[in-house]
Amino acid sequence: MARIQVNPNRMELLKLRKRLAIAQRGHKLLKDKLDELMKKFLDMVREARSLRVEVENRLAEAYVIFAIARSEMITEEMEEALSKPLAVLELDMEYLNIMGVRVPHFQVHLEGAYHCYSLSTTPLSFDVALENYQALIPMLVRLAEVENNVSLMAMEIERTRRRVNALEHILIPALQETVVYITMKLDEMERSYRTQLMKIKSMQE
């Protein structure tokens, strides 16, 4: 392990010991953060997974009903019916803080109904299909949000893990080794000083 290039004196030793203590404390904190992030992340993945399964199933259903409605109408009729939608879909966005990760959160505002067409020219299944779509909107937005959270958390976990590893495998061993090196050097200097003294004393006698 590479040790840090410093002058082996008492001042540096004290400084390094302090740095080592801080590094170890930071390492412990980051490790705790990583554990908690992982816990939250796995919860979120579980939610995203079940939500996606549900959304995909319901979307498939909605498509089927819509296809039935389409088969009962001619294309022009359908286009006309959908040409002036009244419903206004807007999302309010705010940021939430999950374990120091800023994640967007949406509030769905769906104003106006989907009834923007003549009831006499459209079949019943058309209403049902659109009702299904309307019910799906909040779920789709929620799914987008959760999946986005998952990817943001994944990035944060990766970053935190790199920091933990850098501390654990590079900085802390280097500091420890340097502390040992300086201690040994200082001891050596003291021994040589003592032998010098002894030698001088024996020469005086």
């Binding site: 997974r49 939608p85 206004v88 879909l89 987008a144």
Partner: protein, 108 residues
């Protein structure tokens, strides 16, 4: 707070119905039109852009830096009328693998 919209890029049949509930549809008659539509989209207006699987596939191959990571708008893959190809689940799985180093929990 900002007011944002939801857009959708997909086949005509897939995106038509969503128009009635306030989603702004950008129909692509073939998936290969996807990149053009994506580039012309005023992205800052949207919170979520829903993209059907066939179009998503083309975009992933043709557009560098797609899908955008970690910002607004969020790209949401949804199955097209023709049925799910499992792209959404695959994306989720990849993110788990990236963070954890292994795919766990997908067997649930």
């Amino acid at each position: 707070m900002e007011k944002l919209k939801v857009a959708m890029i997909g086949g005509k049949t897939s995106s038509m119905g969503f128009k009635a509930v306030g989603v702004e549809p950008f129909p692509a008659s073939v998936p290969e039109e996807g990149p053009e539509i994506w580039k012309s989209l005023p992205l800052e207006r949207y919170a979520v852009v829903m993209i059907t699987e066939p179009v998503y596939k083309v975009l992933r191959e043709k557009v560098p830096g797609f899908p955008p990571q970690g910002g607004i708008p969020i790209v949401l893959v949804i199955p097209a009328v023709t049925g799910s190809q499992g792209l959404g689940m695959e994306g989720l799985k990849r993110r788990v693998e990236k963070a954890v180093g292994a795919d766990i929990g997908s067997g649930e």
